[in-house]
């Protein structure tokens, strides 16, 4: 029987790894994800989880240990954030290139510099080319559920691609919520025991994994991975439906909120989605035809589903929680704009909520206000893309003359 517990995002993530029967955990502390691995360490120590906990000396080693362990035929896990994910960067490519279906919670936190402890999507956005599946969640329940589903998706024999499930630092990781915790038996039925498909390390069947590959073979191997992503696009909805049938909670790759007659839509990622939905409810009271599209998955990018959901909309806003420096706009905006190219929809990108700044009702209202003005042709100047950034940016550290 499922139980109802008060869990924050970190605890929910740890519970997911416990329920998935991860056998080896190799992890390094980094704010704000440390409670995930502390909880798992505790479970391993008291036998709640039959696992070996490796107290590694860096995130680079954490991912290295996890790859080594999973190649022997067990689920292995770790969790990280921000600079920890950045330190793992080199090894992430080994996991994806060698098709090791590791599942990892990533608690989103800004990359340095400037130093920040707080929520920002730059860390996972910096890994969007790592060859990993990337899921984003709105709340603690979705963190748990998305992680469980991620195992089934990642381990599919034609996907065989590792997955990161991203939850907003502090806003989700540290926010206690009421979570329905499935029981082990139900999860065992949904997630069968891990069987190492494809590559493994076994003296009875020797393979040499990850040796040098000549130019004649490299493109084809990358192409294999591309096909893995395409397969993921096919089976993610199937797994979500199966999850919905089993556990009663249905998730979509592209979740639509009050989209029916909306001609102004905001595309969101992560916990900001909740605030956006709340603002939509309020604006709807004023009969403003607005809606939200929340992406539950960023890699693979569900372009076709997004196009379907946004077909015929006049103006679409995209709210990026990472700066996308040097590009024409934030990373989410770039992909949404690309998906909608050739359509009549105007796609406008915004950046907000960096380095832990709350994406407030005020911020979301300001975005919708602009989008509506743009729809009505009433917007005189360009869009204020960095919508919550103060006017005093260049004066931030003013050092005056000494008296």
């Amino acid at each position: 029987m499922p139980t109802r517990r008060v869990l924050d995002g970190n605890a929910a993530a740890a519970e997911a790894l416990r329920l998935a029967r991860v056998r080896v955990i190799a992890a390094y502390p980094v704010t704000p994800q440390s409670p995930i691995v502390e909880r798992l360490s505790s479970y391993a120590a008291d036998g709640t989880l039959k696992a070996k906990y490796m107290r590694v000396e860096s995130e680079h080693s954490a991912m290295s240990c996890v790859i080594g362990a999973q190649l022997t035929g067990v689920r292995a896990g770790t969790a990280t954030s921000s600079v920890g994910l950045a330190l793992m960067h080199e090894v992430l490519g080994v996991a994806s290139g060698c098709r090791v279906p590791i599942v990892m919670p990533v608690v989103n936190r800004a990359l340095v510099s400037p130093w920040s402890l707080w929520c920002d999507h730059q860390d996972s956005m910096a890994e969007r080319d790592s060859g990993w599946l990337q899921f984003y969640v709105e709340n603690a329940q979705e963190a748990l559920d998305s992680l469980l589903m991620a195992y089934r998706i990642a381990e599919d024999s034609q996907v065989l691609t590792p997955a990161m499930v991203c939850l907003d630092g502090f806003f989700v990781s540290h926010s206690p919520q009421l979570v329905v915790l499935p029981d082990q038996e139900a999860v065992d039925e949904f997630l069968p025991e891990y069987v190492p498909a494809n590559l493994y390390l076994n003296p009875k069947d020797p393979l040499f994994i990850n040796g040098l590959v000549p130019p004649e073979d490299f493109s084809e191997m990358r192409y294999q991975q591309k096909l893995g992503f395409e397969r993921a696009l096919e089976i993610i909805p199937q797994v979500r439906r199966a999850f919905g049938r089993k556990f009663g909670r249905q998730y979509e790759m592209v979740e639509t909120y009050r989209l029916k007659d909306a001609d102004v839509v905001l595309v969101t990622l992560g916990s900001m989605s909740g605030t956006a939905k709340h603002v939509v409810n309020k604006l709807r009271v004023q009969d403003l035809p607005v809606g939200v599209v929340k992406l539950g998955v960023f890699r693979p990018f569900p372009a076709a589903e997004l196009r379907r959901a946004l077909k015929g909309r006049r103006v679409v806003g995209v709210l990026d929680r990472s700066a996308g420096l040097g590009a024409d706009g934030g990373p989410l905006w770039l992909e949404v704009d690309s998906a909608l190219s050739g359509t009549q929809t105007r796609v406008v990108g915004y950046v907000a909520g960096l380095g832990g700044r709350d994406i407030t009702e005020t911020t979301v209202r300001a975005v919708f206000e602009e989008l509506i003005q743009i729809r009505d042709g009433k917007r005189s100047g360009p869009a204020k893309r960095w919508i919550d950034t103060g006017e005093n940016a260049m004066e931030l550290r003013k050092v005056g003359e000494r008296e």
Partner: protein, 107 residues
């Protein structure tokens, strides 16, 4: 690297029928024709050989075999001998000489 002209070494994977593996993996146990590198080759004076095996122990390519019951008591794998000269250098009886490659019909 290409397999030798003889039948290839059996693959390291125990084939359960054929299967397709994704990603970077090597499954064919292969050997390089390092014998072609040689410009000099070891020549053993079998009559002086004490069959001690020191040459075999120190051959980096492990192509030396001692055959105690044979007159030609040291057998060399010419396919892979690189002609490094270590065997000649370590032989306690100094009964191995490195001679110029190319004057023999043994290979």
């Amino acid at each position: 690297m290409k397999p030798t002209s003889e039948p290839p070494e059996r693959p390291t994977t125990k084939s359960r029928g054929s299967r397709v593996l994704l990603g970077p993996v090597a499954t064919v146990f292969a050997t390089v024709d390092t014998g072609r590198w040689r410009t000099i080759r070891p020549e053993v004076d079998f009559s002086a050989c004490a069959q001690c095996g020191v040459c075999r122990t120190h051959c980096p390519t492990a192509v030396l075999e001692i055959k105690k019951d044979q007159a030609e008591c040291v057998v060399i794998g010419w396919d892979n001998c690189k002609g490094c000269g270590i065997c000649a250098n370590v032989c306690p009886k100094q009964c191995i000489t490195m001679v110029k490659e190319g004057n023999h019909d043994a290979h």
